[in-house]
């Protein structure tokens, strides 16, 4: 029986010896209202709540340099900017000003150097500008938020369609069976 084809519930029934499955139904409303809103905002292209449209464009462009889109989806396809906007209103509200001010400063710096906002710069110009601000709190925090948005549960607005998890080969399947990886599978093969 291929365990991957089983739903979690069916797996639990099949695995036998299960006690007290009440938790399963209890868990259904567990996605918070805030997370549902974040998802809805992303899906409907609704407005941002913390970032201004210009700041959001800059944040999205920086995120797209941190994890670029190439032969696989990057931060842009993952909707990292929606995650950032969501968490700046909630868990990470204390850094909202650094991100907002930093996004504006980035555009100002881009204009000063090249007479264009950050997103309008050529790719190598964007990279050079970001390299020059790599150790600023703005860049370090936005890198932190970008990685979180790429790899957090999609319920927070990023990692759309689990593109972040697909990138690294992670599946939040909720249950697994041995063998788990190549080396333990080899041992089972030899034994079996």
């Amino acid at each position: 029986m291929d365990s991957k084809q089983l739903t979690r519930r069916r797996f639990m029934q099949a695995s036998g010896n299960m006690v007290g499955c009440a938790w399963l139904t209890l868990s259904l409303p567990a996605i918070s209202a805030a997370s549902q809103e974040a998802q809805a905002a992303r899906n409907n292209n609704a407005g941002y709540r913390v970032l201004t449209p210009a700041q959001a464009v800059a944040v999205d462009a920086v995120a797209a340099q941190i994890i670029p889109s190439d032969d696989s989806p990057g931060a842009r396809e993952a909707g990292v900017v929606y995650f950032v906007d969501n968490v700046l209103q909630n868990e990470q509200a204390h850094i909202a000003d650094i991100i907002k001010d930093g996004a504006q400063a980035l555009d100002a710096q881009a204009k000063k150097l090249h007479a264009k906002v950050f997103i309008a710069l050529a790719n190598d110009q964007q990279i050079a500008l970001l390299q020059s601000i790599e150790t600023t709190p703005f860049f370090e925090l936005l890198r932190f938020l970008t990685l979180c948005g790429m790899f957090a549960s999609p319920s927070y607005g990023g990692n759309k369609n689990k593109v972040g998890w697909d990138l690294i080969g992670f599946k939040d399947q909720g249950y697994w069976q041995s063998p788990f990886g190549y080396y333990d599978a080899q041992v089972l093969k030899i034994k079996g």
Binding site: F11, M12, S15, N17, M18, V19, G20, A22, W23, L24, T25, L26, S27, A30, I31, Q65, I66, I67, P68, D70, S72, G74, V87, E91, Q92, H94, I127, L130, E134, R143, F144, T146, L147, C148, M150, F151, A152, S153, S155, Y156, G164, W165, L167, I168, G169, F170, D172, Q173, G174, Y175, W176, Q177, S178, F180, G181, Y182, Y183, D184, Q186, V187
Partner: protein, 567 residues
Amino acid sequence: MANTHHSHQGAAATAVSGNKFSTTEEVDFVIVGSGAAGGIMAKELSTAGFNVVVLEQGKRYGLGDFLPHDEWMNSVNQKMMGGSLADTPQTYRETEDEEAKELSYRPLMYGQMVGGSSVLYGANFWRFHEVDFKERSLLGPIKGTGFADWPIDYQELEPYYTKVDWEMGVSGEVGPFDPPRSKDYPMPPLPIKSSGVLLKKAAEKLGLKPFAAPMAINSTAFNNRAPCMHCGFCSGHPCEMGAKSSSLSTMLPLAEATGRCEIRSESTVFNIVTNKQGRVTQVQYWDKDGNEQAQRCKAMVLSANGAETPRLLLMSASESHKNGLANSSGLVGKYLMLNAEALNWGVFEEPLNEYKSVLTTQVIHDFYDADLSKGYYGGGGIDARALPNTPIGFALDGLPPEAPKWGAPYKKMVAHNFTRTLTLFSHLTSLAMERNSVSLDPKIKDKWGRPAIRMTYQDHPDDLKNMAFFSNKASELLDAAGAVTQWGTPIEPTRIAAHLLGTCRMGDDPATSVVDRYHRSHDVKNLFICDGSSFVTSGRGQPTMTIMALAFRAAEHIVRFAKNNDI
């Protein structure tokens, strides 16, 4: 405790509906903390017939609250470990002559929820070995330290380790270096992972004796609880199956089922009140609405962990206890030990997929004992895992130090390495030194106005030498395992820990210890203290099993004292 005998006879009658006690009712015991020790205390004392109120500062969650798996909330925002830094700050300094500062993280990590850190632990359940209790006698004194024997030995604790195996639930198999045990493990080991296969192969190549990691996780259905589903969200995460043997999934339900135990969550204790006779009479706390409350009690058990326990004792200073409660020795908060660590990483050709299943499945204890011929004191064990094994943690911290931090090269590397990375984690001794402590920060307060926990900590030079020894061993092991690339963290001072030990140490002499061999405080007859703070030496990491064994043993003695009117 006067009249305990009688109150215990009539205990069931005094419990009102839903196990609620009135704060003005003098309950038999108030227990502060519901974690590894508090959960066992609650179960043992209530099943022995006593009325118990457990005060827990954290929230109460049910298993249903633990899905979906949520690395963002649990790991990054530490929702169950105190939440935002502004609400529950801590400060850190290396030595006493510095001013302590707030860092970008809390240096002393612990769960703040019903069940405490036992809900979030990685569930490594090594017993201490016989040597752990008597190294001072075996090895002699170590200058500048409080290196001492425990007042109890392994033989005395063994029945309670076995109780932990069978009442909490531990999976494993007897290892080549294990101390004697009176009963086998109740469950076989969890299935070996790729990390375990690689460590085993490498260790055997080097002539070492690896064995299956003992884990407080059900490998089969046990004690009416489900087996592990190998979801991979273990350390730092609650278990939605209840397969992890936490206080929340094992002891606390049994305590509540007696009808004599009320678990009062979101109850933040700030003062222990004593009378003129020097006895605890009530425990003051803020309820979840911020209102001041006080629970009257005949006796008290403090099991709030190695950081919160000394803070509360120090905060409970009064006219008759100017340096804090139970502190005539001046040692409350002193001798903080953390378990030093060494971390080494390797990247392998094929996927290990360490994001699946439990933290670790193989361990080596070949270097457990201290060997003074190496020129220093120290020992430890090594396990194999991936650290971090979850996506956000790995993206932030899983690549080698010289790796690109962003852009296409970063993306390529994180995509390749996530499933292929192995960490060898060395769990090591920390020497007890009086200069290392938990104390009250004089300036910074938490959101309730309690002084922030201030950590003062500097490793002993031997701790650092031991880290270097283990880092070299781990590096040899990674080579032997066939790692394509490998690196280790630099040997540097310990500034973060989840093992909070030694701050109310146990001993026979009231001048050099805070609690006696039965966990009764030397100064206050009806105050018992039992958690990581009771430790005399650090052991080699994985202290929770010993905390639980101590709690089972202490509870047995407390019940005996209470029934003999000797409290």
